[in-house]
């Protein structure tokens, strides 16, 4: 395991972003974006190894749309995409999985569980 694994986190809530930073930055090379604009700006900077995407993103494209976009890109065709959302319904999970998500995690999620989920892939 190496800290070089690059993680892109898409989370609109400021406090949540800060929580992810506190929890995941020690283990991964993390990049944060709060909406679609920041997301598209971050993408060309690095080749990411894994994604954390929230579904509800306020204004602009939502998480599902971003997942679909990623899956259309050759380089991210099979990159793990972990969805962490407060949407609790089964149909939300189905929609996300159909769009190409690798894993669907419901908020609130335990910090350790979250870290271990990402470590699994490296």
């Amino acid at each position: 395991m190496t800290k070089t694994a690059k993680l892109l986190i898409v989370e609109d809530d400021d406090l949540n972003q800060k929580l992810y930073k506190a929890v995941l930055s020690k283990e991964f090379d993390t990049t944060f974006c709060a909406n679609d604009v920041q997301f598209y700006a971050a993408l060309p900077q690095k080749k990411f190894d894994i994604f954390l995407i929230d579904l509800a993103l306020g204004k602009g494209e939502d998480g599902i749309s971003l997942i679909k976009k990623l899956r259309q890109m050759d380089e991210y065709k099979s990159t793990p995409i972990i969805v962490v959302t407060a949407y609790a319904f089964k149909r939300d999970e189905d929609t996300a999985m159909a769009a190409g998500a690798t894993k669907f995690i419901r908020k609130p999620v335990d910090n350790k569980v979250l870290v271990n989920e990402f470590k699994k892939y490296f």
Partner: protein, 719 residues
């Protein structure tokens, strides 16, 4: 040969008829005239015979020439007399002819007697002829008078002869007298006796003929009478109904044997006991019958008819239809009354069943809440029960003669008239046909029609009979239910979305709450003070926003479940708005936003204080939230007709046009962070809308993106 004889005979008969026929006014005169003329012919024959007799005396040498010639010439006088009389009679002067002839004859014979041989004259015999004719043609009295005259004449001649005062001027002499007397006697005998015998025989023959005819006629009448009697007896005795004839004395003259079939009593029983009929009549009907009897026996009243019950000999009750009429002879004599009793028990039973059945159906038809009707083949109402009044507002009398289509809107009428006309052509049941009608008061009535065709013996449809049910309420209820159903579906979908958003928003803070508190509890010793403070601050912020959301959610749910009751009160709007606005001034000044409250003076409203405060707080805090620093929020108020309008205007970011309506609806809870990243619950405006709705007012927003928004709510003012 015989043919010629017959020809001659018929010719002679015609000639003879022509000769003796006379002109007359009646049959009797015709007959008399014929007889008279016949006698005139005979008379002429007698004259000729007498002349021959007298002339025969010359060759016989029985008398002197003077006497013979005078005697032969004397009768010739009668030939012209006879011819004159025939002609006169033929011209209608029969009576005078007879008188002239008879009296001339009488006088001539008297003269002859005086002239020839006096009391010994053979002419006396000639009186026989005269008297016979007078007696036959005039009246028998003439014979008497003439006979008396002849006797007196003879007595006078005898008297004068014996006194020597008279001596006959001429005489036939003894031998001539004997000859003339015998000859005259023979002629008179032949003519007179022959004539009388002929006449008598003719009368006798006529009498016999008459008698014979009379007997024959009588026999014929008798046989016809018998036949007729038999016919009537047959008719009467074999008549199915119970027939009778009561004489003027009240006794039965005839009663048909069929009475036994109906009553169990034989005709004799009724004949022997005239009271029997009355006594077997049911006690309920007896007074009516007795009254009827006294009425009809008083005078010869016309046909009367009554129905009554009798108790038969076996104790059975039978209904009788009684008809009676007065009978009188052809001469007009009253002969009593003829009665006819028929057994109508079966008919009465059927009538009773029918009556009950009709009663039953009528009472159903009259009391049922549905409208029952009957129309002819043209669709015109010929029956309607009283429900037409309740259903369409028209009395049955107003409905009769109209058609169902008269009560429908034109298009509806056309549509249903076509259905009806087709149904008349090919008769079939009409089932559950919904149609729109106008009530008399103009309102709409929806009817559901069911009908069946009425067919005649040939199977042609003569009309329809049916039931109309007022389904207006049901239809309206159906429409209402359908509408509610749609609303519910929509609401349900809205709520689904709403709940998923709420669930998301409620859960979201817990990620931070749990995450930060976990770090604090597990890694507390490794964290520096700054980190610790940040995490604790974050936990506080998250808790606060979660609590606000929860609180709004609870208010919303209490409104939804009716737990928050609209509790209006009359108050001055300014007094309640100002403190609310002032509470938010601090937040506004933090962002350097100017809040201007342009509400002055007293504006009384009848509203729920808490709700108005909540609405104003939400609108003003939103305005502050979405306005950039150095912006402005203006709260103002104005009267707009019957409403009071409160508006909150800002110079903020504005709202996209497509979102202007959505923000008040629970279907799309969108929480947008403020210009200073303020958290929202997305429920505030939804709550405002609910509350204003409870006031009977409305709320809406106007906005220009990047320039600002204006939120306005309207509540009814106190007039």
């Amino acid at each position: 040969m015989t043919e010629n004889v017959n020809k001659v005979r018929s010719w002679a008969e015609v000639k003879w008829k022509t000769l003796i026929d006379v002109k007359a006014h009646n049959d009797e005169d015709v007959r008399l005239g014929r007889l008279f003329n016949t006698l005139m012919v005979i008379s002429t024959a007698i004259v000729i015979l007498l002349v021959i007799v007298f002339l025969m005396m010359i060759p016989l040498g029985l008398s002197n020439y003077t006497t013979i010639y005078l005697a032969a010439v004397f009768p010739l006088v009668f030939i012209p007399l006879s011819i004159y009389c025939i002609l006169s009679a033929k011209h209608g002067h029969l009576k005078s002819s007879i008188n002239i002839y008879v009296w001339t004859n009488f006088a001539a014979i008297s003269g002859a007697v005086w002239l020839f041989d006096g009391i010994y004259s053979p002419a006396w015999l000639l009186y026989i002829w005269t008297i016979t004719i007078a007696g036959t043609l005039l009246t028998p009295v003439y014979s008497l008078w003439m006979t008396s005259g002849v006797v007196l004449h003879y007595a006078l001649l005898l008297f004068f002869y014996k006194l020597g005062l008279y001596k006959p001027p001429l005489t036939f002499g003894e031998a001539g007298r004997e000859y003339a007397t015998i000859a005259s006697l023979l002629i008179m005998f032949m003519s007179t006796v022959g004539l009388l015998t002929y006449l008598n025989m003719k009368s006798l023959q006529k009498a016999l003929n008459d008698l014979h005819n009379e007997i024959a006629e009588h026999k014929q009448t008798e046989s016809e009478l018998n036949e007729s009697n038999e016919k009537y007896r047959t008719v009467a005795d074999f008549t199915y109904d119970w027939e009778y004839w009561v004489g003027p004395d009240g006794k039965y003259i005839y009663i048909s044997p069929s009475c036994e079939r109906i009553t169990g009593y034989k005709p004799d029983a009724f004949i022997n006991d005239p009271e029997l009929l009355t006594s077997i009549i049911h006690t309920h009907d007896r007074p009516t019958f007795v009254n009827h009897l006294s009425e009809v026996m008083q005078d010869d009243c016309d046909v009367r008819r009554i129905d009554f019950r009798i108790i038969t000999r076996s104790g059975e009750i039978r209904w009788i239809s009684h008809t009676c009429c007065s009978v009188s002879s052809s001469a007009g004599k009253w002969l009593g009354r003829r009665g006819s009793n028929s057994d109508i028990t079966e008919r009465k039973k059927i009538e009773e069943v029918l009556r009950k059945s009709e009663d039953k159906f009528r009472s159903i038809a009259e009391t049922i809440s549905d409208w029952i009707w009957e129309v002819d083949s043209e669709g015109k109402y010929i029956y309607t029960n009283p429900r037409s009044k309740d259903i369409l507002g028209y009395e049955p009398a107003e409905i009769i003669g109209k058609t169902p289509f008269d009560f429908m809107p034109p298009e509806e009428a056309e549509h249903h008239r076509k259905i009806f006309n087709d149904a008349v052509k090919t008769p079939h049941s009409l089932r559950v046909i919904e149609n729109i009608n106008f009530h008399k008061n103009g309102s709409i009535v929806i009817l559901e029609t069911n009908a069946i065709p009425i067919l005649d013996a040939e199977g042609n449809c003569t009309g329809y009979r049916g039931i109309d049910r007022d389904i207006t309420e049901r239809k309206l209820a159906e429409q209402k239910i359908q509408k509610i159903n749609e609303e519910l579906k929509e609401l349900n979908a809205t709520k689904d979305t709403f709940f998923s958003i709420i669930a998301h928003d409620l859960k979201s803070p817990f990620q931070g709450l749990l995450g930060y508190s976990q770090i604090l509890s597990t890694e507390y010793s490794t964290l520096n003070e700054e980190e610790k403070l940040f995490f604790i601050q974050s936990i506080y912020d998250l808790s606060k926003s979660a609590f606000t959301l929860l609180e709004n959610l609870l208010i919303w749910s209490r409104i939804q479940t009716g737990k928050i009751v609209f509790n209006p009160d009359v108050f001055n709007l300014q007094e309640e708005i100002m403190p609310t606005v002032e509470m938010l001034m601090q937040v506004a000044s933090n962002k350097n936003i100017l809040v201007e409250c342009q509400i002055h003076g007293k504006t009384l409203v009848q509203a729920d204080k808490n709700m108005i405060q909540t609405v104003v707080r939400n609108l003003v805090s939103n305005a502050i939230k979405f306005t950039n620093p150095d912006g402005k929020v203006i709260i103002s108020l104005r009267q707009n007709g019957k409403f009071i309008e409160v508006s909150v205007e800002d110079t903020g970011v504005g709202i996209r046009k497509e979102n202007l309506d959505k923000i008040f609806k629970s279907g799309a809870v969108v929480s947008t962070k403020g210009t200073a990243n303020e958290e929202g619950t997305g429920l505030g405006l939804i709550l405002c809308a609910e509350m204003i709705k409870m006031h009977g007012g409305k709320i809406w927003a106007e906005s220009k993106l990047g320039k600002g928004s204006k939120f306005i709510f309207q509540i009814p003012s106190i007039m």
